[in-house]
């Protein structure tokens, strides 16, 4: 059977890996290609790059990083951040990305999901949803979690599936950076209404948070950044924790 995936996420700004806490206060970490290769060797099932560059130079650098990663990393990798047009999708896939993630641009123009999926296949289109709790449910946030789109996250998840997304990367703006575990209620609410894989993101502070989300929801994958980057915990410790709780994972 398909195993649960453990995915390290690398936030890349102007060609360097950084980590934001609550999407602000960035701290520089290192070389993205070297870090991706090292995570792949350590047993990561997939790698996600999130480009948070503010400049065109930064975004062009990202294409070079993708090309170099494809030469050195032999597990699937996804690139998101700043993807606005089908030309952006094409450029990243041609550079060697296995999947491309889209977020704000998909909210502004949902046809981007449809046209990219029709052209390249659903399996390489990931829609990132940043959700935040409000009195009337979860809202889809854009612009790095800072702007309320007013869209209901559960309805939006159904819509992106219908439009041909192959996967949803679901980040809880509320738990991101808090290190108290994934947002189980949000994750369950989204996973239960779609028939495509969902990656849970935001809130990991301990390896045990992974088996927790896998046991309490039907989510397909869990993503974390800082616990891996800061060497607080290794991929292996996360997988050992999953295994000890009876969660089916890939041993590497």
């Amino acid at each position: 059977m398909i195993v649960k995936r453990i995915i390290p996420c690398l936030d890349v700004k102007e060609g360097r890996v950084v980590k934001g806490t609550n999407f602000v206060s960035l701290r520089e970490l290192g070389d993205p290609v070297a870090m991706a290769a090292s995570y792949s060797k350590a047993g990561a099932d997939e790698i996600i790059f999130l480009d948070i560059s503010a400049t065109n130079e930064g975004r062009n650098t990202m294409v070079d990083i993708v090309r170099e990663t494809a030469r050195n990393v032999f597990v699937p990798f996804t690139v998101g951040g700043g993807v606005r047009t089908i030309e952006d999708v094409t450029r990243l896939l041609q550079a060697g990305a296995d999947k491309v993630g889209m977020n704000s641009a998909a909210v502004n123009d949902p046809n981007l999901i449809t046209s990219s999926s029709n052209r390249f296949g659903a399996q390489c289109i990931v829609v990132a949803i940043d959700a935040k709790r409000f009195d009337d449910g979860w809202h889809v946030m854009t612009h790095g979690g800072s702007k309320d789109s007013g869209l209901d996250a559960v309805e939006w998840a159904k819509e992106v599936e219908k439009r041909g997304a192959g996967e949803i990367l679901l980040t809880s703006v509320d738990t991101d950076g808090v290190k108290n575990g994934f947002d189980l209620n949000l994750t369950k609410a989204i996973v239960d209404v779609v028939r495509i894989p969902v990656i849970a993101s935001g809130g990991v502070g301990h390896p045990d948070h992974f088996p927790e989300v896998f046991q309490k929801t039907d989510v397909s994958a869990g993503l974390a950044a800082s616990i891996f980057h800061e060497n607080t915990f290794s991929i292996k410790e996360v997988k050992d924790s999953c295994k000890s709780q009876g969660v089916n994972i890939r041993e590497a």
């Binding site: 059977m1 398909i2 195993v3 995936r5 792949s40 099932d45 494809a70 030469r71 032999f74 597990v75 699937p76 896939l93 041609q94 060697g96 296995d98 296949g121 659903a122 399996q123 192959g166 996967e167 028939r195 495509i196 894989p197 397909s220 890939r250 041993e251 590497a252």
Partner: protein, 198 residues
């Protein structure tokens, strides 16, 4: 020299980099002379069966590939593996290369489709070159899968039914998953094929 068949279907650069990483010289080509000069032929591919057959025929490669498969190690990966069979049922019925008898049909499963992610291999006991890969995980992305006689099946993966993962008929191999995206295990499986000598 290993030749990767270039017929315009999907990202073939990652297959090349994986082979380069194993220390092999690789050429990506649709030139029949260069294909004939190669020691091993690799047919990759991502996309639909019907579109792939059209692209192969448009380049006049169908007979070339059928003849190459008779005298040198030949590996189809993902869609390239499906093309080895008699016919495929994606977007209607399309004739494949018919190098191995069988059909390519949509997977019937209660689980999500496409079948995406890492799944464990179950190796047929009498395949000495592959026994080491028993229970190893490899990365799949597909909705259609091959139905063929058990005698051609080297490995399956459980996804509701047992999905055909590796097939073999003489020196013709087919791999449904992506060995170039399956970490060290995937590279070792590619190596098992590359050590075949015609």
């Amino acid at each position: 020299m290993i030749a990767i068949v270039d017929y315009g279907m999907g990202n073939i650069a990652s297959v090349k980099t994986a082979l380069n990483n194993l220390g092999y010289d690789v050429i990506i080509t649709d030139d029949s002379k260069k294909l004939e000069a190669a020691s091993h032929i690799i047919l990759p591919g991502v996309g639909s069966f019907q579109a792939a057959v059209e692209e192969i025929e448009k380049r006049g490669l169908k007979e070339v590939l059928q003849s190459l498969a008779k005298d040198k190690p030949f590996l189809g990966i993902c869609l390239g593996m499906q093309l080895l069979f008699t016919e495929g049922y994606e977007n209607g019925t399309t004739k494949g290369l018919d190098l191995i008898p069988g059909t390519v049909e949509k997977i019937e499963t209660p689980y999500l489709l496409p079948h995406i992610g890492w799944n464990a291999l179950d190796i047929t006991p009498d395949e000495p070159n592959f026994v080491d890969f028993q229970d190893q995980h490899v990365y799949f992305v597909h909705t259609f899968a091959a139905n063929t006689d058990d005698k051609y099946i080297v490995a399956t993966a459980e996804y509701g039914p047992n999905v055909t993962a590796i097939v073999r008929s003489g020196l013709i191999y087919g791999i449904q998953f992506h060995p170039e995206k399956s970490g060290e295990v995937g590279l070792a499986i590619l190596k098992a094929f590359l050590q075949e000598v015609a």
